[in-house]
């Protein structure tokens, strides 16, 4: 019985220590946690009084959030300052893209319409008379886009 008490006490002591790990140990743990993600490049981690600050570059917002959560999940980290930045991917030059050229041709007679193309998705902004909408949509749908995101204000 006494032995059980001692073991239980020791356990509590060890657990108690784990609740307040050193910042240096936390830094290593956070680094291990976030560097498992292959999308992270040029990372930096600092920990001060349990607050982990992340820096580095990631390709998108989702990865940034994911890494922030991974750091926050490390036992002993009290909070996370997520300073990860999202890398700007190469800007596609519209003229090089057949879809963008075709979209430009199809929309040129509708000067109130602004069309952008990204990842096969044609996004329409601006305004248009209802009478012209079907004609424009017919032309755009024939260009084999992935999707037409129509945000036009229809007059």
């Amino acid at each position: 019985m006494a032995l059980v008490m001692v073991v239980a006490f020791m356990g509590a002591t060890v657990t108690g220590c784990k609740n307040k790990p050193k910042d240096a140990d936390l830094k290593t743990a956070v680094e291990t946690a976030i560097q498992a993600n292959p999308k992270l490049s040029a990372s930096g981690v600092t920990v001060e009084k349990g607050v982990a600050t992340l820096s580095g570059q990631v390709p998108d917002e989702a990865t940034k959030e994911e890494l922030g959560k991974a750091a926050a999940a490390v036992p002993g980290v009290t909070s996370v300052v997520n300073n990860l930045t999202i890398a700007i991917t190469n800007v596609e030059i519209a003229a090089d893209s057949p879809l963008a050229i075709a979209v430009k041709d199809a929309t040129k007679d509708f000067p109130t319409v602004t069309a952008t193309v990204a990842d096969g998705i044609v996004t329409l902004k601006g305004e248009l008379q209802k009478a012209n909408l079907q004609k424009l949509m017919m032309a755009l749908n024939a260009l084999k886009p992935k999707k037409v995101d129509n945000q036009l204000v229809i007059k």
Binding site: I101, A106, M137, A139, K146, K147, L152
Partner: protein
């Protein structure tokens, strides 16, 4: 399958009208409808689509119905611009220089199809160049 339910009426109209090579499939939240048919049926399909999705605001359909697939070289085409003259260009893009014009409702001849957007046409005055198919309607 949810989109096929939403646009069931549209698919039914296309099926009933006997659209050639009708292909309907759903991918990543978009329903793709392809096929070839007459200009009249194409109009009917688009009117149905517009009724089911007012102002095409949902962005969950890409409908590519070709009503000019069967138009052969040498066919007569009517210029159906909204109001202006039709530009005839040196090459198949708006980046190419304008080398001629065809009046609204003028009838021109199809010389050849560069692609679905640009056709090589010739006017009765002998001007030859590329025009946007959106403004050319086969004379039936």
């Amino acid at each position: 399958m949810a989109l096929q339910e939403k646009y069931k009426e549209l698919i039914d109209v296309a099926t009933a009208a006997g659209v050639n090579e009708l292909n309907v499939r759903e991918q990543d939240g978009v329903l793709y409808i392809d096929g070839a048919t007459s200009g009249t049926v194409k109009q009917q399909l688009w009117d149905t689509y517009e009724r089911l999705d007012p102002n095409y605001a949902s962005g969950d359909v890409v409908m590519n119905i070709n009503s000019v697939a069967g138009v052969a070289d040498g066919s007569k085409l009517k210029v159906t611009t909204n109001s202006s003259n039709l530009n005839i260009r040196k090459g198949p893009s708006t980046n190419d220089d304008i080398i001629g014009k065809a009046a609204r409702h003028e009838v021109v001849t199809l010389v050849g199809k560069e692609n679905d957007q640009w056709w090589l046409i010739k006017t009765d005055q002998g001007e030859q160049g590329y025009s946007f198919t959106q403004y050319l309607t086969p004379v039936e």
